[in-house]
């Protein structure tokens, strides 16, 4: 199954479970407080996911390594390379 397929299945499952419990038909009725809590659940979850996303990306952005050493090392390598290659006859 494709990822899209998995998402659609998952959403269909959760969606129908939510609809069954929150928008309850008389046979399945939960006590009123439960139904009231369940009703806005999708929106809460969406907002929670949004917050999680922001926090995660923010954290990863803050901890994104700056490779100072690698850059310095590269400059050194370049100098050595140019010198060596010139010696071996390369015309730049």
């Amino acid at each position: 199954m494709t990822k899209l397929g998995q998402w659609l299945c998952g959403l269909a499952l959760l969606g129908s479970a939510w609809a069954a419990l929150a928008l309850a038909p008389p046979g399945l009725r939960l006590p009123a407080p439960y139904r009231q809590a369940l009703l806005p659940l999708p929106v809460y979850l969406l907002v929670a996911f949004g917050c999680y996303s922001l926090a995660t990306v923010g954290y990863r952005l803050a901890t994104f390594n700056d490779c100072e050493e690698a850059a310095a090392e590269l400059q050194e390598h370049i100098r050595a390379a140019r010198a060596d290659l010139r010696r071996q006859g390369l015309r730049f």
């Binding site: 494709t2 990822k3 899209l4 996303s53 995660t56 990306v57 990863r60 952005l61 994104f64 390594n65 700056d66 490779c67 100072e68 690698a70 850059a71 090392e73 590269l74 400059q75 390598h77 370049i78 390379a81 140019r82 060596d84 290659l85 071996q88 006859g89 390369l90 015309r91 730049f92």
Partner: protein, 240 residues
């Protein structure tokens, strides 16, 4: 028959206008391989560069020997990584293929040692884990990179931390198999390779790499990548 079944590494370098960088990359690669005692060859696939890249490649061939430097030219208007790799692989005699950028953004390192540790089918360089990272990126670029990667992780759950990186080591037969199956271009092509590899059950190891922003030369990246990246991502999401 290869003596003792020793490993040989074929490095594929697609180039376009890399006259300045190419000798340096080749020198670094040659030195790294020679220091580690590994058998290697470097295959340069040039897209008809007008700046004399091929002429420099020919000089390098004289210096290092034509068993070590192989130059192949393709002239195509729509040069993509995929085309370059296909051409390059035809001439590769190694049993491991290394793909990387020829513009010195990939800091040459002993990527392949990791392969030995875990006998992986693919070793992927990652900028996001361990002491991997970048140099010369402003906040905006980092944000876009992390943001795009986050969306990719959520949608594709690929099991690898850096999907758009292009510094990788593949077993030759694994790369051939993946090339047959992959259809995208550019960044998305690199992502598709990893996703397909997962599907086919190949093992993927990760090695932290440093991505150092352009030392010489103009960056070839244009402006519309974000849109084409998202389009590609959604295509992968819907088809894999």
């Amino acid at each position: 028959m290869a003596a003792g079944g020793a490993d040989k590494f074929s490095v594929l370098l697609p180039t376009y206008n890399e006259r300045e960088n190419l000798p340096l990359v080749v020198w670094l690669l040659a030195r790294t391989f020679q220091e580690s005692g590994n058998n290697f060859e470097i295959i340069i696939i040039d897209d008809g560069s007008p700046d004399g890249t091929q002429e420099v490649a020919e000089q390098l061939e004289k210096i290092y020997g034509s068993d070590k430097i192989v130059m192949r030219e393709i002239i195509s208007v729509l040069f993509s990584s995929g085309t370059a790799y296909i051409h390059g692989m035809k001439h590769a005699t190694g049993n491991f293929i290394v793909i990387m950028d020829a513009d010195l953004s990939h800091h040459v390192s002993l990527h392949f040692i990791k392969q030995k540790e875990g006998n992986f089918d693919i070793v992927s360089g990652t900028r996001y884990k361990g002491n991997g990272g970048v140099y010369g990126w402003d906040l905006k670029r980092k944000l876009i990179s992390r943001g795009a990667n986050f969306i990719t992780q959520v949608l594709l759950r690929p099991g690898a931390s850096d999907l758009t990186g292009s510094f990788r080591l593949y077993r030759k037969e694994v790369l051939q198999k993946l090339m047959e199956k992959c259809v995208s271009k550019g960044y998305v092509f690199q992502m598709e390779m990893i996703v397909r590899a997962r599907q086919l059950g190949y093992t993927i190891g990760e090695v932290p790499i440093s991505f150092v922003d352009r030392v010489y030369g103009e960056s070839k990246l244009g402006g519309n990548e974000i849109v084409s990246f998202l389009k590609g991502l959604l295509t992968l999401f819907a088809t894999t």
